[in-house]
């Protein structure tokens, strides 16, 4: 398998690019593995990669129902940040940032991690204090953060309406200067290729139809390509968590699946440098390297497994976007699509052993799955390898809700559609 580099590109170009080989194998399933990961999305693939690279467990299969990366890893707005208020979250997402910085290099695949800065706009003095509280939390955790006043914000994003006459005048903002975004598909492909090189079998178009149980213990899965046994089975299927866990007999979880829409405009020359969020509603926007404005807002609140949303969210996000950047009104929406969010009851994730013997669960990512991809896989791999969580994910348990230990950033309580 060729190592990717400028040199390999030239060499192959001279040969008319005829010698490039598949980025990952398409193997036949073995009858058994040490570990099965259900879900060939970002989290499943990164879990497999870290199982192999960190814990030396290479007899691993990643089972994907559709094509690799067909879920939220390829449907998100690609934002990478760790600007959280609550300690368990800021620790975890900062671990992710560390891994992001090295990712292209470690995978020998350019995931185009772009530390262009993430700016949260504040519209009242009270909101400035809320952001200061978060910014200070970040500083105390060793994360870079800056509280900007209106002029500094205006300098950073010239298009912004910083006039006092705006309906929600901009007071300032919180900047995480080394956060940014990355190329979503490349993350899936990069992890897949790297895991494959370490011996992991990636089984695409392989649907789990049931779980194999022995004395209450999960010992593998039934698939449309036959039985596959494993000592340990990890589930990392995000929006499909409800579906898959039901196959294992787990009928109820503190999770609801909803649709989150994402939007991209036509390609234009660079117009906003940072990832920017609106503070008087819910909207986040950045510009892709190809020039499209990539943005999104609230979920379509209702439960849904359909990867498409509805019109009012269009009206909501576009009106917030043009309120923030009145010069965007004539730019044009090119495409919109939907992904299924596994919204947890407190807006924070679940990375845990169980809930059944031999099973491990990674779910509840809400809006936050993409940026978490490296740390999620890293922690989940640790949890599977050691049968107990790492310090970084020990708080992300499934029992925390019922124990009264929610990790509730927004403070909206057990109403998933508000997180």
């Amino acid at each position: 398998m060729t190592r990717y580099s400028a040199w390999s590109i030239l060499k192959n170009a001279l040969k008319g690019n005829r010698d490039w080989t598949p980025a990952w194998r398409k193997p036949e399933p073995k009858s058994s593995y040490d570990v099965i990961i259900i879900g060939g999305g970002g989290h499943g693939l990164s879990t497999a990669f870290y199982l192999a690279s960190v814990h030396g467990i290479t007899n691993v299969a990643v089972i994907e129902k559709g094509y690799l990366g067909s879920g939220n890893i390829g449907r998100n707005t690609t934002i990478v940040r760790s600007n959280y208020r609550l300690t368990p979250n800021s620790q975890f997402y900062e671990k992710s940032m560390e891994l992001w910085r090295e990712l292209s290099h470690n995978l020998n695949y350019n995931v185009m991690f772009s530390p262009r800065g993430v700016l949260n706009l504040a519209h009242t003095p009270g909101q400035m204090d809320t952001y200061a509280e978060r910014g200070n939390q970040m500083r105390l955790m060793g994360v870079k953060s800056e509280l900007l006043d209106r002029d500094q914000v205006a300098k950073l994003n010239p298009g912004l309406d910083v006039s006092g006459s705006a309906r929600f005048p901009i007071e300032g903002g919180l900047l995480q200067p080394d956060a940014g975004n990355a190329r979503h598909d490349a993350v899936a492909w990069g992890y897949a290729r790297a895991a494959d090189q370490l011996g992991v079998d990636i089984l695409e178009n392989t649907e789990v139809t049931g779980f194999l149980k022995e004395g209450g213990r999960i010992v593998g899965v039934e698939t449309n390509r036959g039985e596959i046994r494993a000592a340990k089975t990890g589930v990392a299927v995000a929006g499909s968590t409800g579906r898959v866990m039901k196959l294992a007999g787990v009928d109820k979880l503190p999770i609801e699946s909803t649709v989150l829409q994402a939007f991209v405009s036509e390609s234009i020359k660079p117009i906003i440098p940072t990832v920017t969020t609106f503070g008087a509603g819910h909207l986040y926007v950045s510009q892709s390297d190809k020039g499209g404005l990539v943005f999104g807002g609230n979920i379509d609140y209702y439960n849904s497994y359909a990867q498409r949303g509805n019109l009012p969210v269009w009206e909501e996000v576009t009106s917030e976007l043009v309120a923030m950047f009145p010069n965007f009104a004539r730019l044009r929406l090119l495409r919109s699509w939907g992904g299924i969010m596994d919204m947890s009851m407190d807006g924070s994730p679940i990375i845990t052993t169980g809930p059944l013997d031999g099973m491990y669960l990674n779910a509840g990512w809400c809006y936050g799955g993409f940026k978490a991809t490296p740390a999620s896989g890293w922690c989940f791999a640790h949890t599977i390898a050691n049968d107990k969580p790492h310090a970084l994910n020990k708080d992300f348990t499934l029992d925390r809700f019922k124990e009264g230990r929610m990790i509730d950033e927004t403070g909206r309580g057990p109403t998933p559609w508000y997180h």
């Binding site: 949303g309 009012p312 927004t410």
Partner: protein, 106 residues
């Protein structure tokens, strides 16, 4: 991301039939989630029962009975039966004190 005073620009645009006001855009309604979650009675109810009521969700892939409130209309609550994969709505029925009175209407 902490949200401040999100402008109430609607939830979604499927069409719901309010037992009192008739068919309207979802933007007029507030979603309240899984209707199968019912509060334990006042006179008893363990911590477990309440935990189940508050945190456990069936989150089905298919038919889902869910609560909606016509907040921008008559403010009635109703149970909507909707398929979460196709978004097709098969039933909207009132809940609450007026269920009987509106039985014919729903």
């Amino acid at each position: 991301m902490k949200r401040v005073a999100a402008p109430h620009l609607g939830t979604i645009k499927m069409r719901l039939t309010c037992p009192f006001c008739g068919e309207r855009d979802h933007q007029e309604f507030t979603y309240r989630g899984d209707a199968s979650a019912t509060r334990p009675p006042m006179d008893n109810g363990s911590i477990e029962d309440h935990n189940t009521y508050v945190f456990d969700r069936t989150n089905p892939d298919g038919e889902h009975r869910e609560l909606w409130n016509h907040t921008s209309g008559c403010r009635m609550h109703m149970v909507v039966t909707r398929n979460t994969t196709t978004h097709k709505i098969s039933n909207c029925e009132p809940v609450g004190p007026w269920t009987k009175a509106l039985g014919g209407k729903s």
